[in-house]
Symmetry: C2
Subunit: 196 residues, 2 copies
Protein backbone atom coordinates (compact mmCIF):
# COMPACT_ATOMS: atom_id res chain seq x y z
CA UNK A 1 0.00 0.00 0.00
CA UNK A 2 1.89 2.95 -1.38
CA UNK A 3 0.57 5.62 1.00
CA UNK A 4 1.52 3.52 4.03
CA UNK A 5 5.00 2.78 2.65
CA UNK A 6 5.54 6.50 2.04
CA UNK A 7 4.28 7.39 5.51
CA UNK A 8 6.66 4.92 7.14
CA UNK A 9 9.53 6.32 5.09
CA UNK A 10 8.61 9.87 6.12
CA UNK A 11 7.75 9.39 9.82
CA UNK A 12 9.02 5.97 10.93
CA UNK A 13 12.09 5.80 13.09
CA UNK A 14 14.37 2.87 13.78
CA UNK A 15 15.17 2.21 17.44
CA UNK A 16 17.62 -0.29 18.87
CA UNK A 17 16.43 -3.86 19.32
CA UNK A 18 14.60 -4.06 16.00
CA UNK A 19 11.88 -1.64 17.05
CA UNK A 20 10.18 0.48 14.39
CA UNK A 21 8.64 3.60 15.91
CA UNK A 22 5.48 4.63 14.07
CA UNK A 23 3.68 6.22 16.98
CA UNK A 24 2.81 9.40 15.12
CA UNK A 25 0.25 7.63 12.90
CA UNK A 26 -0.25 3.93 13.83
CA UNK A 27 0.05 3.01 17.49
CA UNK A 28 -0.24 6.07 19.74
CA UNK A 29 -1.38 8.97 17.61
CA UNK A 30 -3.63 7.68 14.82
CA UNK A 31 -4.41 9.09 11.39
CA UNK A 32 -8.09 8.22 10.90
CA UNK A 33 -7.91 8.61 7.11
CA UNK A 34 -4.98 6.22 6.94
CA UNK A 35 -6.89 3.75 9.14
CA UNK A 36 -9.87 3.93 6.77
CA UNK A 37 -7.57 3.43 3.79
CA UNK A 38 -6.03 0.40 5.53
CA UNK A 39 -9.54 -0.97 6.07
CA UNK A 40 -10.35 -0.53 2.36
CA UNK A 41 -7.17 -2.37 1.42
CA UNK A 42 -8.06 -5.28 3.71
CA UNK A 43 -11.49 -5.40 2.09
CA UNK A 44 -9.79 -5.59 -1.31
CA UNK A 45 -7.50 -8.40 -0.14
CA UNK A 46 -9.97 -10.45 1.91
CA UNK A 47 -13.46 -9.30 0.92
CA UNK A 48 -14.11 -12.34 -1.28
CA UNK A 49 -13.84 -14.73 1.69
CA UNK A 50 -16.79 -15.85 3.87
CA UNK A 51 -15.64 -13.70 6.82
CA UNK A 52 -18.24 -13.03 9.50
CA UNK A 53 -16.03 -11.58 12.23
CA UNK A 54 -12.91 -9.48 12.67
CA UNK A 55 -10.66 -10.32 15.61
CA UNK A 56 -7.80 -8.14 16.84
CA UNK A 57 -5.87 -7.65 20.05
CA UNK A 58 -5.79 -4.57 22.25
CA UNK A 59 -4.76 -1.85 21.86
CA UNK A 60 -3.09 -0.90 18.57
CA UNK A 61 -5.06 -3.36 16.45
CA UNK A 62 -8.42 -1.84 17.35
CA UNK A 63 -8.39 1.16 14.99
CA UNK A 64 -7.61 -0.73 11.75
CA UNK A 65 -9.88 -3.58 12.87
CA UNK A 66 -12.96 -1.43 13.55
CA UNK A 67 -12.55 0.33 10.19
CA UNK A 68 -12.33 -3.03 8.42
CA UNK A 69 -15.31 -4.33 10.41
CA UNK A 70 -17.31 -1.26 9.45
CA UNK A 71 -16.50 -1.65 5.77
CA UNK A 72 -17.18 -5.42 5.79
CA UNK A 73 -20.25 -4.98 8.02
CA UNK A 74 -19.18 -7.62 10.53
CA UNK A 75 -18.73 -7.59 14.27
CA UNK A 76 -15.25 -6.89 15.57
CA UNK A 77 -13.80 -8.39 18.75
CA UNK A 78 -10.61 -7.47 20.52
CA UNK A 79 -8.68 -10.03 22.54
CA UNK A 80 -8.15 -8.55 26.00
CA UNK A 81 -5.27 -8.58 28.40
CA UNK A 82 -6.52 -10.88 31.13
CA UNK A 83 -7.59 -9.21 34.35
CA UNK A 84 -7.16 -11.06 37.66
CA UNK A 85 -10.93 -11.11 38.13
CA UNK A 86 -11.90 -12.11 34.61
CA UNK A 87 -15.06 -14.17 34.71
CA UNK A 88 -15.46 -17.72 33.53
CA UNK A 89 -16.37 -18.60 29.96
CA UNK A 90 -13.18 -17.32 28.43
CA UNK A 91 -10.51 -18.91 26.29
CA UNK A 92 -7.07 -17.98 27.59
CA UNK A 93 -3.79 -17.79 25.72
CA UNK A 94 -0.54 -15.89 26.14
CA UNK A 95 1.49 -13.47 24.05
CA UNK A 96 5.15 -12.69 24.55
CA UNK A 97 5.58 -8.95 25.06
CA UNK A 98 8.99 -7.68 24.00
CA UNK A 99 8.46 -4.28 25.58
CA UNK A 100 7.80 -5.94 28.96
CA UNK A 101 10.02 -8.98 28.21
CA UNK A 102 7.45 -11.36 29.63
CA UNK A 103 4.48 -13.45 28.59
CA UNK A 104 1.16 -11.67 29.03
CA UNK A 105 -2.05 -13.66 29.49
CA UNK A 106 -4.84 -12.68 27.15
CA UNK A 107 -8.42 -13.89 26.81
CA UNK A 108 -11.54 -13.81 24.71
CA UNK A 109 -15.09 -14.48 25.87
CA UNK A 110 -16.22 -17.83 24.53
CA UNK A 111 -19.50 -16.27 23.37
CA UNK A 112 -17.54 -14.13 20.91
CA UNK A 113 -15.41 -16.84 19.30
CA UNK A 114 -17.38 -19.92 18.28
CA UNK A 115 -17.28 -22.76 15.70
CA UNK A 116 -19.60 -20.64 13.52
CA UNK A 117 -17.01 -17.88 13.23
CA UNK A 118 -14.94 -17.30 10.10
CA UNK A 119 -12.27 -14.92 11.27
CA UNK A 120 -10.17 -12.22 9.69
CA UNK A 121 -7.44 -11.42 12.21
CA UNK A 122 -6.10 -7.85 11.99
CA UNK A 123 -3.12 -6.36 13.79
CA UNK A 124 -0.82 -3.37 13.41
CA UNK A 125 2.43 -5.41 13.26
CA UNK A 126 3.63 -8.81 12.12
CA UNK A 127 7.05 -9.29 13.72
CA UNK A 128 7.88 -12.69 15.24
CA UNK A 129 4.26 -13.79 14.82
CA UNK A 130 3.38 -13.85 18.51
CA UNK A 131 -0.09 -12.34 18.26
CA UNK A 132 -0.77 -14.56 15.24
CA UNK A 133 0.25 -17.65 17.27
CA UNK A 134 -2.14 -16.50 19.99
CA UNK A 135 -4.98 -16.16 17.45
CA UNK A 136 -4.25 -19.63 16.07
CA UNK A 137 -4.34 -21.03 19.62
CA UNK A 138 -7.65 -19.31 20.45
CA UNK A 139 -9.17 -20.48 17.15
CA UNK A 140 -8.18 -24.07 17.96
CA UNK A 141 -9.68 -23.82 21.44
CA UNK A 142 -12.95 -22.39 20.13
CA UNK A 143 -13.35 -24.24 16.84
CA UNK A 144 -13.40 -20.97 14.87
CA UNK A 145 -11.96 -20.90 11.33
CA UNK A 146 -9.23 -18.43 10.41
CA UNK A 147 -9.95 -17.20 6.88
CA UNK A 148 -7.05 -14.77 6.80
CA UNK A 149 -4.76 -12.42 8.64
CA UNK A 150 -3.99 -8.82 7.73
CA UNK A 151 -1.18 -6.72 9.15
CA UNK A 152 -0.43 -3.06 8.57
CA UNK A 153 3.34 -3.49 8.80
CA UNK A 154 5.49 -6.62 8.59
CA UNK A 155 9.07 -6.69 9.80
CA UNK A 156 10.20 -9.41 7.42
CA UNK A 157 13.55 -10.00 9.17
CA UNK A 158 11.74 -11.18 12.30
CA UNK A 159 10.32 -14.18 10.41
CA UNK A 160 6.67 -14.11 11.48
CA UNK A 161 5.74 -14.31 7.80
CA UNK A 162 7.71 -17.52 7.36
CA UNK A 163 5.89 -19.07 10.30
CA UNK A 164 2.46 -18.14 8.86
CA UNK A 165 3.44 -19.53 5.45
CA UNK A 166 4.44 -22.82 7.11
CA UNK A 167 1.08 -22.87 8.91
CA UNK A 168 -0.75 -22.41 5.60
CA UNK A 169 -2.35 -19.16 6.76
CA UNK A 170 -3.59 -16.77 4.07
CA UNK A 171 -2.05 -13.48 5.16
CA UNK A 172 -1.17 -10.07 3.77
CA UNK A 173 0.91 -7.18 5.06
CA UNK A 174 0.33 -3.70 3.66
CA UNK A 175 3.95 -2.60 4.06
CA UNK A 176 7.08 -4.70 4.54
CA UNK A 177 10.11 -3.41 6.40
CA UNK A 178 13.10 -5.46 5.33
CA UNK A 179 15.86 -3.71 7.22
CA UNK A 180 15.97 -1.28 10.13
CA UNK A 181 19.75 -1.06 10.33
CA UNK A 182 20.40 1.02 7.26
CA UNK A 183 20.55 4.79 7.36
CA UNK A 184 17.25 4.92 5.53
CA UNK A 185 14.49 2.50 6.44
CA UNK A 186 14.04 -0.21 3.82
CA UNK A 187 10.29 -0.29 3.32
CA UNK A 188 8.45 -1.75 0.38
CA UNK A 189 5.14 -3.07 -0.78
CA UNK A 190 4.21 -6.69 -0.16
CA UNK A 191 6.22 -9.13 -2.34
CA UNK A 192 4.54 -9.87 -5.65
CA UNK A 193 4.58 -13.61 -4.84
CA UNK A 194 2.01 -13.02 -2.09
CA UNK A 195 -0.08 -10.35 -3.80
CA UNK A 196 -3.59 -10.85 -5.05
Amino acid sequence: MESLVKRIQAEGRSLKGGILKVDSFINHQLDPNLMMEVGKEFVRLFGHLPINKIVTIEASGIAPAIMTGYLMQVRTVFIKKKQPNTLANVYVSSVHSFTRDQDVEVCINSNFLTPDDHILFIDDFLAYGNTARCMIDLAKQSGATIEGMGFCIEKTFQKGGEYLTEQGINFHSLACVTDLETAHLSVCDEPASRKL
Copy 2:
Protein backbone atom coordinates in the same frame (compact mmCIF):
# COMPACT_ATOMS: atom_id res chain seq x y z
CA MET B 1 -29.07 8.41 21.77
CA GLU B 2 -32.05 6.14 21.43
CA SER B 3 -30.36 3.24 19.64
CA LEU B 4 -27.68 3.03 22.33
CA VAL B 5 -30.24 3.19 25.14
CA LYS B 6 -32.21 0.36 23.51
CA ARG B 7 -29.08 -1.70 22.99
CA ILE B 8 -28.10 -1.36 26.65
CA GLN B 9 -31.62 -2.35 27.69
CA ALA B 10 -31.49 -5.39 25.40
CA GLU B 11 -27.93 -6.64 25.98
CA GLY B 12 -26.53 -4.91 29.08
CA ARG B 13 -26.21 -6.89 32.27
CA SER B 14 -25.82 -5.66 35.81
CA LEU B 15 -23.01 -7.27 37.83
CA LYS B 16 -22.24 -6.82 41.50
CA GLY B 17 -20.12 -3.82 42.47
CA GLY B 18 -21.86 -1.35 40.16
CA ILE B 19 -20.48 -2.94 37.01
CA LEU B 20 -22.51 -2.71 33.81
CA LYS B 21 -21.54 -5.45 31.39
CA VAL B 22 -21.84 -4.30 27.78
CA ASP B 23 -19.12 -6.46 26.32
CA SER B 24 -21.23 -7.76 23.46
CA PHE B 25 -21.20 -4.39 21.67
CA ILE B 26 -19.00 -1.76 23.43
CA ASN B 27 -15.89 -3.01 25.17
CA HIS B 28 -14.92 -6.49 23.99
CA GLN B 29 -17.03 -7.33 20.98
CA LEU B 30 -17.80 -4.15 19.04
CA ASP B 31 -20.64 -3.25 16.73
CA PRO B 32 -18.96 -1.11 14.05
CA ASN B 33 -22.25 0.47 12.93
CA LEU B 34 -23.04 1.50 16.48
CA MET B 35 -19.53 2.95 16.83
CA MET B 36 -20.05 5.00 13.64
CA GLU B 37 -23.43 6.18 14.94
CA VAL B 38 -21.77 7.18 18.24
CA GLY B 39 -19.18 9.13 16.24
CA LYS B 40 -21.93 10.96 14.32
CA GLU B 41 -23.66 11.88 17.57
CA PHE B 42 -20.41 13.29 19.00
CA VAL B 43 -20.02 15.35 15.81
CA ARG B 44 -23.56 16.69 16.34
CA LEU B 45 -22.79 17.57 19.96
CA PHE B 46 -19.26 18.95 19.60
CA GLY B 47 -18.75 19.68 15.89
CA HIS B 48 -19.23 23.45 16.31
CA LEU B 49 -16.18 23.72 18.59
CA PRO B 50 -12.61 24.44 17.38
CA ILE B 51 -11.47 20.85 18.04
CA ASN B 52 -8.24 19.79 16.33
CA LYS B 53 -7.57 16.52 18.14
CA ILE B 54 -9.42 13.60 19.72
CA VAL B 55 -7.86 12.03 22.80
CA THR B 56 -8.97 8.74 24.35
CA ILE B 57 -7.47 6.07 26.57
CA GLU B 58 -6.72 2.46 25.67
CA ALA B 59 -8.41 0.18 25.00
CA SER B 60 -12.21 0.58 24.94
CA GLY B 61 -12.17 4.26 24.01
CA ILE B 62 -10.30 3.68 20.76
CA ALA B 63 -13.20 2.50 18.59
CA PRO B 64 -15.60 5.41 19.28
CA ALA B 65 -12.65 7.83 19.20
CA ILE B 66 -11.31 6.78 15.80
CA MET B 67 -14.81 6.98 14.29
CA THR B 68 -15.25 10.48 15.70
CA GLY B 69 -11.77 11.46 14.51
CA TYR B 70 -12.56 10.16 11.04
CA LEU B 71 -15.82 12.11 10.86
CA MET B 72 -14.24 15.31 12.26
CA GLN B 73 -11.08 14.81 10.16
CA VAL B 74 -8.72 15.27 13.10
CA ARG B 75 -5.91 13.17 14.48
CA THR B 76 -6.76 10.82 17.31
CA VAL B 77 -4.41 9.90 20.15
CA PHE B 78 -4.82 7.22 22.76
CA ILE B 79 -3.29 7.59 26.21
CA LYS B 80 -1.23 4.46 26.82
CA LYS B 81 -0.66 2.32 29.85
CA LYS B 82 2.91 3.15 30.77
CA GLN B 83 5.51 0.53 29.95
CA PRO B 84 8.59 0.14 32.16
CA ASN B 85 10.83 1.16 29.25
CA THR B 86 8.75 4.09 27.99
CA LEU B 87 11.04 6.69 26.51
CA ALA B 88 11.46 10.25 27.69
CA ASN B 89 9.25 13.10 26.42
CA VAL B 90 6.05 11.83 27.95
CA TYR B 91 3.54 13.31 30.34
CA VAL B 92 2.62 10.78 33.00
CA SER B 93 -0.56 10.51 35.05
CA SER B 94 -2.42 7.73 36.82
CA VAL B 95 -5.88 6.22 36.64
CA HIS B 96 -7.51 4.14 39.33
CA SER B 97 -8.50 0.78 37.91
CA PHE B 98 -11.44 -0.80 39.71
CA THR B 99 -11.00 -4.13 37.98
CA ARG B 100 -7.40 -4.33 39.25
CA ASP B 101 -8.08 -2.27 42.40
CA GLN B 102 -4.92 -0.26 41.93
CA ASP B 103 -3.65 2.91 40.33
CA VAL B 104 -2.27 2.35 36.83
CA GLU B 105 0.32 4.73 35.38
CA VAL B 106 -0.55 6.08 31.95
CA CYS B 107 1.30 8.37 29.59
CA ILE B 108 1.09 10.41 26.43
CA ASN B 109 3.98 11.49 24.24
CA SER B 110 4.53 15.23 24.66
CA ASN B 111 4.67 15.64 20.86
CA PHE B 112 1.03 14.57 20.67
CA LEU B 113 -0.42 16.87 23.35
CA THR B 114 0.70 20.47 23.05
CA PRO B 115 -0.52 24.00 23.86
CA ASP B 116 -1.85 24.22 20.28
CA ASP B 117 -4.25 21.32 20.86
CA HIS B 118 -7.97 21.79 21.37
CA ILE B 119 -9.11 18.44 22.64
CA LEU B 120 -12.27 16.42 22.52
CA PHE B 121 -11.83 13.59 25.03
CA ILE B 122 -13.82 10.44 24.22
CA ASP B 123 -14.29 7.36 26.38
CA ASP B 124 -16.68 4.44 26.61
CA PHE B 125 -17.71 5.07 30.24
CA LEU B 126 -18.12 7.96 32.64
CA ALA B 127 -18.33 6.42 36.11
CA TYR B 128 -16.38 8.07 38.96
CA GLY B 129 -14.63 10.33 36.47
CA ASN B 130 -11.19 8.76 36.82
CA THR B 131 -10.19 8.82 33.16
CA ALA B 132 -11.58 12.37 32.90
CA ARG B 133 -9.42 13.44 35.88
CA CYS B 134 -6.43 11.90 34.12
CA MET B 135 -7.23 13.86 30.92
CA ILE B 136 -7.56 17.09 32.92
CA ASP B 137 -4.18 16.41 34.56
CA LEU B 138 -2.47 15.70 31.23
CA ALA B 139 -4.02 18.81 29.67
CA LYS B 140 -2.68 20.92 32.56
CA GLN B 141 0.81 19.42 32.18
CA SER B 142 0.85 20.03 28.43
CA GLY B 143 -1.03 23.31 28.13
CA ALA B 144 -3.67 21.76 25.85
CA THR B 145 -7.25 23.05 25.98
CA ILE B 146 -10.13 20.67 26.68
CA GLU B 147 -13.04 21.74 24.47
CA GLY B 148 -15.32 18.92 25.55
CA MET B 149 -15.70 15.36 26.72
CA GLY B 150 -17.99 12.71 25.25
CA PHE B 151 -18.88 9.40 26.84
CA CYS B 152 -20.90 6.55 25.40
CA ILE B 153 -22.41 5.54 28.75
CA GLU B 154 -22.60 7.44 32.04
CA LYS B 155 -23.34 5.71 35.33
CA THR B 156 -24.94 8.73 36.98
CA PHE B 157 -24.95 7.20 40.48
CA GLN B 158 -21.13 7.12 40.49
CA LYS B 159 -21.01 10.92 40.36
CA GLY B 160 -18.39 11.52 37.66
CA GLY B 161 -20.85 13.87 35.98
CA GLU B 162 -21.14 16.00 39.12
CA TYR B 163 -17.36 16.31 39.24
CA LEU B 164 -17.17 17.42 35.59
CA THR B 165 -19.95 19.96 36.13
CA GLU B 166 -18.02 21.41 39.09
CA GLN B 167 -14.92 21.62 36.91
CA GLY B 168 -16.85 23.54 34.26
CA ILE B 169 -16.20 20.88 31.61
CA ASN B 170 -18.55 20.77 28.62
CA PHE B 171 -19.50 17.10 28.50
CA HIS B 172 -22.14 14.82 27.06
CA SER B 173 -23.07 11.19 27.62
CA LEU B 174 -25.05 9.34 24.97
CA ALA B 175 -26.85 7.08 27.46
CA CYS B 176 -27.29 7.48 31.20
CA VAL B 177 -27.67 4.51 33.54
CA THR B 178 -29.32 5.71 36.70
CA ASP B 179 -29.71 2.45 38.58
CA LEU B 180 -28.19 -1.00 38.22
CA GLU B 181 -29.95 -2.53 41.23
CA THR B 182 -33.43 -2.80 39.81
CA ALA B 183 -34.66 -5.89 38.02
CA HIS B 184 -34.58 -3.97 34.77
CA LEU B 185 -31.71 -1.63 34.03
CA SER B 186 -32.72 2.01 34.34
CA VAL B 187 -31.28 3.56 31.21
CA CYS B 188 -32.30 6.84 29.64
CA ASP B 189 -31.18 9.55 27.30
CA GLU B 190 -29.05 12.40 28.59
CA PRO B 191 -30.98 14.80 30.87
CA ALA B 192 -32.63 17.65 28.97
CA SER B 193 -30.77 20.18 31.13
CA ARG B 194 -27.48 19.13 29.52
CA LYS B 195 -28.72 18.56 25.99
CA LEU B 196 -27.87 20.74 23.04
